[in-house]
């Protein structure tokens, strides 16, 4: 689309204004089908993403369902104050951040490495089989994943503990020992998600011009050299985009998974914001308090995305917007 710009004339401002108004109308009319096409998307965002934000109001109220949003009493920052002054708040925030750190530093690189390895597999047949095998865990719910690991690591006849005893070691209480919670968490995340995470990287690897590899081979580059100098630079943009998106969900670790692993013995390391919202907020019908916590989480996420995006741009990358 070419845009026609009319330089403003200092002599006849009134006439000009009406002229440019007409111009705008004309342009809208010319692109009318584009506007029609964007309408469904726009409506979707307005109805399902922006209007619901109205509900955030209740985090500043003592919300009572029978009084409705407008009828409930305003209490200002009470629920936020309560959250920040909760004795466990710092601990819960730390646990959330640590799990998030594990996600970023341990889980995040794994799909990339896996994708690079898959890419090196020769022969479409094996490649497909391996890919499918890696995807399957993604389709199991967390309940199943956690149950499977429960059966494997329980002290009452779990196979891992039986093996430990067989090789002359002591039994390990994986389920109740706080220091085993984080390893179990991240192993389960990797097992379930790593294969699925490779999809997008494999797609972008497939888009690389084969000529580049040919040229590199001519220059005598080995497999590793090719990966290092061609494949990785080519998918760098995708990696950074996904990284920024991941940062956005900084405090959003998936309630279900952690809640299933949580018990009285490992609460000090396992209670995260999501599970806290459930016990303190929803189980007791404290909608305002829960909403306040959710609000807090979203703001942190927003700030993180903007910060990382800015850093990425400073480093000369594209960023997400």
């Amino acid at each position: 689309m070419q845009e026609v710009t009319i330089p403003p004339s200092p002599v006849q401002p009134a006439l000009d204004a009406s002229k440019s108004k007409q111009e705008v109308k004309r342009r809208i009319w010319r692109n009318r089908w584009l506007y029609v096409m964007i309408a469904p998307g726009l409506l979707y965002f307005i109805i399902f993403k922006y209007l619901p934000m109205y509900g955030l109001i209740i985090s500043f109220q003592d919300y009572k369902p029978y009084h409705g949003i407008l009828g409930s009493d305003w209490v200002g920052m009470k629920h936020f104050t309560r959250l920040f002054t909760e004795p466990d708040f710092l601990n819960i925030l730390m646990n959330t951040l640590i799990l998030f750190g594990l996600n970023i530093f341990i889980y995040f690189p794994i799909p990339i490495i896996l994708a690079l390895m898959l890419n090196e597999l020769r022969g479409n047949f094996f490649k497909r089989i391996f890919q499918s095998l890696l995807y399957i865990p993604h389709f199991m719910s967390w309940v199943i994943v956690v149950s499977i690991s429960f059966v494997m690591v329980t002290m009452d006849g779990g196979i891992i503990n039986d093996l430990l005893v067989f090789f002359g070691f002591e039994k390990i209480n994986f389920l109740l020992n706080p220091s085993w919670f984080r390893p179990m968490y991240i192993i389960q995340v990797i097992w379930r998600e790593a294969g699925w995470g490779t999809i997008i990287y494999l797609a972008s690897i497939a888009a690389i011009d084969p000529g580049l590899y040919e040229a590199a081979r001519m220059d005598g580059a080995g497999r590793l050299r090719q990966i290092w100098h061609i494949t990785i630079p080519a998918i760098r943009g995708v990696i950074i985009t996904l990284f920024i998106l991941k940062i956005g969900s900084v405090l959003d670790l998936g309630f279900e998974h952690v809640y299933l692993l949580l018990n009285s013995m490992n609460r000090e390391v396992a209670e995260i914001i999501d599970t806290y919202v459930y016990t303190a907020g929803l189980r007791q019908g404290q909608f305002s308090y829960s909403t306040a916590i959710g609000f807090f989480k979203s703001i942190i996420g927003l700030i993180m995305v903007m910060a990382v995006n800015k850093i990425a741009k400073k480093l000369g990358e594209e960023g997400v917007y």
Partner: protein, 509 residues
Amino acid sequence: MKKKSFSIMLAVLLTLSVMLTACSGGNDKAAPATGGDAAKGAESDAPMEIKIMLPLNTSETPPDTIKKELEKLTNTKLTYQFFPADTYEEKLNSSFATSSLPQVTYLKNQTTFIQMKDAIKDGQFWEIGPYLNEFPNLSKLKPEILNNTKVDGKLYSLYIGRPLARQGIIYRKDWADKLNLSAPANVDELFEMAKAFTEQDPDGNNVKDTTGVVDRNELTYGAFKTISSWFGTPNGWGEKDGQLQPEFTFQEYIDTMDFFKKLRDNGYMNQDFAATSKTDAVKMFTSGKAGLYIGGSMQDIDSLNKDLIKNVPDAVLDTHSMVAGPDGKFAQWMIPGYNNVVLFPKGAVKDEAELKKILAFFDKMMTPEVSNLMFWGIEGVHYTVEDGKAKPTDDKELIEREVKGYKDSVIGEAETNGMYEPYNVLPGRIRAEELLLENVKVGVPDPTAPLDSATFTEKGVELQQIITDATYKYMYGQIDKAGFEKEVENWKKRGGDKIIEEYNAAYKK
């Protein structure tokens, strides 16, 4: 998995419900008009129209089979609004926010009832206490249970009854017989039984692969609270020096924790019980690896037996509940006696006359004829009568589809509404039914059930977590008595003191 935070989902719901208010506003205005028609109609003996909202515990809305019979028997025209139990709380809240609750509103359980107390105090529902005497059947409802459902001393609801104390032991009778053990008469014998089941190879396979007690990550409905009450711990709260104090400040609570610690340390119970779900605990028991299933409901013996004999065909189960404490006394903790309650919103029931007509419907529901229809279904189709008891048909799916939806809404219990008792075949189950009656004789009620504490409503659950965690840590030997008492102090500091104060103030009234 990227799960949107609860609050956002909630916000979506709320907004949608607010948006819908505008639409449903018109209906609200129309509602009194229909009500008026119904009232006029009632004068000429036309059927009374009643709208009923209730949770549904099956996947499908039941067909009209039962409803049609019910309408004939009670001369009503009923509109049942079934909503799935999983999301029933949301439905309650959003209907409430848009004041579109129907004339008869069932809650979901005790928890939703506690949440609704604010609204009840706010005058959103009819007080029915003063009218009950006018209805011969409704006035049969048990006063002690009605008392537990009172809000600020006034009665607003009818209750759906549940046996007061269903908990006890379900154990492997074949193992006990083989080892020459009888049902444990006191907590020491219980410990001995767990020990014998673990160490003396009761399944006779020459491998030490059995456990005594199987328990799960649940202090109330698992084994802990039941054994605790045998030790003499008060039910939730107890009187000490003329004051109500929480159960965990009593010595008996500590004794119970020591009992569990000893069981675990010696390997007489499953080692991971703090992380074992109910499903996993049941699986351990029904696979024939454990001998004692404690807590829960003794009536579960039917389903446990069914699954167990699939794995161990010659297993025999039995129930038991009379276990004396160290001082030789019997005790059983009791629930407040109701499973759910039904309320009558002022927004939908416009005047006293209409309320009385609705209560008259419930009065009829409490006759044996109607309650049998709703609880058991149609005689000859869904059940048959044997020895004056109801024996459900073998077609479980038919009952599930056509009867279950109504079954959970029957007011009162067999003693008050005169419906048939179940016809049981399994000896352990028959014994369980006898034990239920025995349990009540030594039953210990929770003195705070009819009392109110604002702090408890606000953060009781959150605070209880501190005690629950500390209890498990003590049983696993991670903290000692001093450490446990420190956690109790922590509980008090963070709001417990206020709860004690508020309950005692309400108790003295």
